[in-house]
């Protein structure tokens, strides 16, 4: 196994070399190859049993006699078998096997490996080496699932053979491999990010998730990513080839899916380019996050400066899908429907973004306490010290770009990006829908998102170790309660229902009602601004308290206790 070529791999990527060396043991290699080959035999054996016997059953793969519901027989008394359909079904099964094999065990192995290294502390030594996070991540991605790759390599000749017998065009095979690799690249990257964050996850929820993280990741991939990714490809890149994935009777019609009027549902090259570009961008952002988390596990997953370009990208990506041709003709609420869908999507996006961007208690305490510190200038103990004089960091700049500052202002700037792009989008509608109402809808939506962000940032300042769970619960309450009350009033008190709807995650939904007047909108706006001021005021107060020095806290505590006639406490220092 150990030859100059293998040694060269080790020089190029030490991590991949270590993973291969640990996994490519002769016994493991033989077992995987045997399993892959046995699996192919089992599949063939299964499909062999599906062929009709001399009695004309079963009828899956033969010409059917509609009268007897059995197979039609030829002159020799043998059933007329539809070999093309049979091979197509085998090919279809192999396709699904490859998709699931590439994604599920790969994700499981990667999540388990990184989580274990993170918990054992071995990853810290890799962090201390001069290797870049990209090199380590690349090595993990190519190295940890190496036995999965080996199994796939064993299946590929069978896949090509079945493709040929099923008359699958080479273009589909090429597209299938490219999209499968791109999908795996994306989901493996996301898995590594999840693994690198396992310590953070444990600190967020207050419990060690441990090995169950891998199972959660596999479930997410199985229940969400694989169906979503395959569905997307069936609607775009693979739409002429749907029979090879969901059966011979599947429709090969193209969809009318457009992005900024680009026909990605019909034009195959555009569909491939678009999907690959989106996955590349998604992977790029994930790698950016991994780069941060790998070297500084205590940092937020995303930097504030990065968030602005990410939001601009995501807004362009999502708004592009709302530039669709009106298929079923214009109707009264067409624009409002679109806006609400877009706003709800963005609310979810912004809540996620706030969690990625919001600093937790420790970072906020550090920021509050040490933000004003100058870099020391001269120390007598050091030999010939001539340290440069640091400049005081501008507060606004710190809030918009700083690593440890609260995320509220950065979220506000991101919301401005959202509002600006939405306004541009809406401006394209002309005066077909009441523009003033839509402007009010944007304003109320943006305010609600800012309120959610302020709640998240405030709750993440909690001392409780399970602060993440409490934040999610508080957010669910703030989002769900207005909707529940609006539903309660819906039948009898329309105005009350509208009032509460305006404070829900989808304030624009209230605009469906004919009873909505300017007065109600102003009331909702005032209520939102009051909530925002109160939440940000509370956060400012907490940060100001956290920024006080320990000695000031002690002195305050001592004078308070002196006023109450109690003895001073040393523990005041540690509060």
């Amino acid at each position: 196994m150990f030859n100059p070529w293998f040694d060269w791999i080790g020089d190029v990527n030490a991590q991949m070399f270590r993973e291969w060396k640990g996994r490519l043991k002769p016994q493991s290699v033989l077992i995987v190859m045997a399993l892959a080959i046995a699996g192919q035999f089992l599949l063939m054996a299964h499909f062999q049993t599906q062929l009709p016997s001399e009695f004309g059953y079963p009828v899956y793969f033969c010409e059917i006699n509609s009268a007897t519901r059995t197979c039609l027989m030829d002159a020799q008394g043998q059933p007329i078998i539809l070999w093309g359909k049979w091979w197509q079904s085998i090919f279809q099964s192999v396709n699904w096997c490859l998709i699931l094999l590439a994604m599920l065990p790969g994700v499981y192995f990667l999540a388990t490996d990184v989580d274990r290294e993170e918990r054992q502390g071995t990853l810290d030594f890799i962090r201390l080496s001069p290797q870049s996070s990209r090199s380590i991540m690349f090595g993990k991605m190519l190295g940890v699932p190496v036995l999965v790759y080996l199994a796939i390599a064993c299946i590929l000749p069978f896949h090509w053979y079945t493709a040929m017998r099923a008359s699958a065009p080479p273009a589909f095979l090429l597209s299938f491999y490219i999209m499968l690799m791109a999908g795996c690249w994306f989901i493996y990257s996301a898995t590594l990010l999840g693994g690198f964050l396992s310590k953070l996850q444990a600190s967020l929820v207050g419990i060690q998730i441990g090995s169950s993280l891998s199972l959660v990741m596999v479930l997410v991939v199985l229940m969400w990513f694989v169906p979503a990714y395959v569905s997307w490809n069936l609607a775009t890149t693979w739409h002429p080839y749907t029979p090879f994935l969901i059966g011979p009777n599947a429709s090969t019609d193209s969809t009318n899916l457009q992005w900024f009027h680009l026909p990605i549902g019909t034009h195959l090259l555009l569909a491939h380019g678009f999907t690959l570009a989106v996955l590349a961008m998604g992977s790029f952002w994930i790698w950016q996050a991994v780069d941060r988390c790998f070297h500084s596990p205590g940092r937020t997953i995303l930097g504030k400066a990065q968030s602005y370009s990410l939001v601009a990208f995501l807004e362009l990506l999502t708004v592009g899908f709302f530039f669709q041709e009106v298929r079923y003709g214009y109707h009264d609420t067409f624009y409002l429907d679109n806006f609400i869908a877009f706003a709800v999507l963005n609310t979810v996006l912004f809540i996620g973004l706030t969690f990625l961007l919001a600093n937790h208690r420790q970072a906020l305490l550090d920021w509050a306490r040490f933000r004003h510190f100058y870099t020391p200038t001269s120390r007598q103990q050091t030999p010939e010290p001539q340290l440069p004089r640091a400049t005081r960091v501008n507060l606004w700049k710190d809030l918009l770009l700083g690593e440890k500052s609260p995320a509220n202002l950065a979220i506000a700037l991101n919301l401005l990006i959202f509002a600006a792009l939405t306004l541009l989008w809406i401006a394209g509608w002309g005066s077909e829908y009441r523009p003033a109402y839509l402007f009010a809808a944007i304003l109320l939506t943006v305010n609600m998102m800012a309120i959610y962000a302020a709640i998240i940032q405030l709750m993440l300042m909690m001392k409780n170790t399970k602060r993440f769970i409490w934040t999610v619960l508080a957010l669910a309450l703030v989002m769900g309660l207005p909707l529940a009350i609006a539903a309660f009033y819906h039948d009898n008190h329309q105005l009350q229902a509208i009032r509460w709807l305006l404070l829900s995650p989808a304030p624009a939904a209230a605009f469906y009602s004919g009873q909505l007047g300017i007065g109600l909108i102003v009331q909702a706006f005032v209520a939102q601004v009051t909530a925002l001021v109160a939440l940000n005021g509370k956060l400012t107060l907490q940060l100001r308290r956290a920024g006080e020095s320990a000695s000031k806290t002690l002195l305050d505590e001592t004078s308070r206790r002196a006023a109450l006639g109690q003895p001073a406490m040393r523990s005041a220092l540690t509060k």
Partner: protein
């Protein structure tokens, strides 16, 4: 860029680390010169491990600056060339149990971009240094704790760092393993490495270190060469035994200019003398005692050890 002398291996300015509102390391200004073996002592929770982790880039300071070989350590960038200068051995030492000793070191040598044939030579050298050559093909899982500790040290020095940060390297080791470890540290010091070592075993540090830093409640309350510490804080005592009664001896010592205090060691014909004077003064005293005809049977000059100094400073050292 500060104009730090190239002889300074480590310099920190206002180094502070806060956990919650507890300040683990508080405004520490530390300077360690190249080639020194610097011992860091202090009670549990004094901030030694946090300080070492920050120097090793394993922990980001809340505020403050670190300079390694005169170059500022940046936590925003990975600073690969500075990482190559540092070797860090934490108090726990997780290893890959599925790898052999050789494969483990080979992996880290590759992570630090060592190329063959230098890599193989280096692997052989460090295995020889930590006395694990005979275990090179053994699985790590089969090694004893002492061997694992030495393997971790081998991993720490595989890339020829010039600065070695050792956090409690001998904790949990038996006396023989500790002695082996001390010998390795001495060999590394002779090879020119700067070593920062934290330990509760002060006798080991007294043997190894050229300078000592004492931490308490996150502050670096003392940092000085070991000789200076002894001069400043360690009293010299001489145990003098005689065949006869102690009175003539006491009479003789009474007027001696370097004798501060005498006390009788109970149950023995011995006086404990607190003596302020250099080696020449000690020799003069012995000469004068013999010339005065007092039947001296024992004359044993001693100094208070590091642990006594530490306790005298008001600290409580768990050992």
């Amino acid at each position: 860029m500060p104009n730090l002398s190239s002889e300074v291996a480590i310099a920190t300015f206002g180094l502070t680390k806060q956990f919650e509102r507890q300040i683990a390391v508080n405004d520490v200004d530390l300077t360690i010169r190249a080639g020194e073996v610097y011992g860091l002592i202090g009670p549990n929770g004094a901030g030694k491990t946090t300080l070492i982790r920050m120097l090793a880039t394993a922990e980001e300071p809340t505020v403050g600056e670190i300079y390694i070989n005169g170059e500022r350590l940046s936590f925003d960038q990975t600073a690969p060339h500075l990482k190559r200068l540092i070797g860090y051995l934490p108090d726990d030492f997780p290893l890959y149990d599925d790898l052999t000793v050789w494969d483990y070191l080979d992996y880290f040598a590759r992570l630090y971009k060592l190329r063959d044939p230098h890599r193989t030579r280096r692997l052989r050298y460090v295995l020889d240094l930590v006395q694990l050559t005979h275990k090179r093909n053994s699985l790590i899982a089969t090694l004893s704790r002492g061997m694992k500790q030495r393997l971790s040290l081998a991993r720490t020095i595989i890339h020829e760092p010039i600065l070695l940060l050792l956090d409690e390297p001998v904790s949990g080791l038996d006396p023989i393993a500790r002695m082996q470890f001390r010998e390795i540290i001495r060999a590394l010091q002779e090879a020119g490495m700067t070593i920062l070592i934290s330990s509760h075993v002060l006798s080991d540090l007294a043997e190894l270190c050229t300078s000592i830093g004492i931490m308490e409640l996150g502050f670096l309350v003392e940092s000085a060469p070991l000789a200076e510490l002894y001069d400043r804080l360690s009293r010299q005592q001489i145990l003098i035994s005689t065949l006869g009664t102690l009175e003539p001896l006491e009479q003789h010592l009474k007027g001696h200019p370097h004798v501060c205090h005498t006390e009788v060691v109970p149950g023995q014909n011995t006086l404990r003398v607190n003596f302020e004077g250099d080696a020449e003064a000690v020799a003069d005293l012995l000469r004068s005692l013999i010339q005065s005809g007092i039947p001296i049977t024992g004359f044993n000059p001693t100094r208070e050890d590091l642990e006594t100094i530490f306790l005298k400073l008001g600290h409580q050292q768990a050992s």
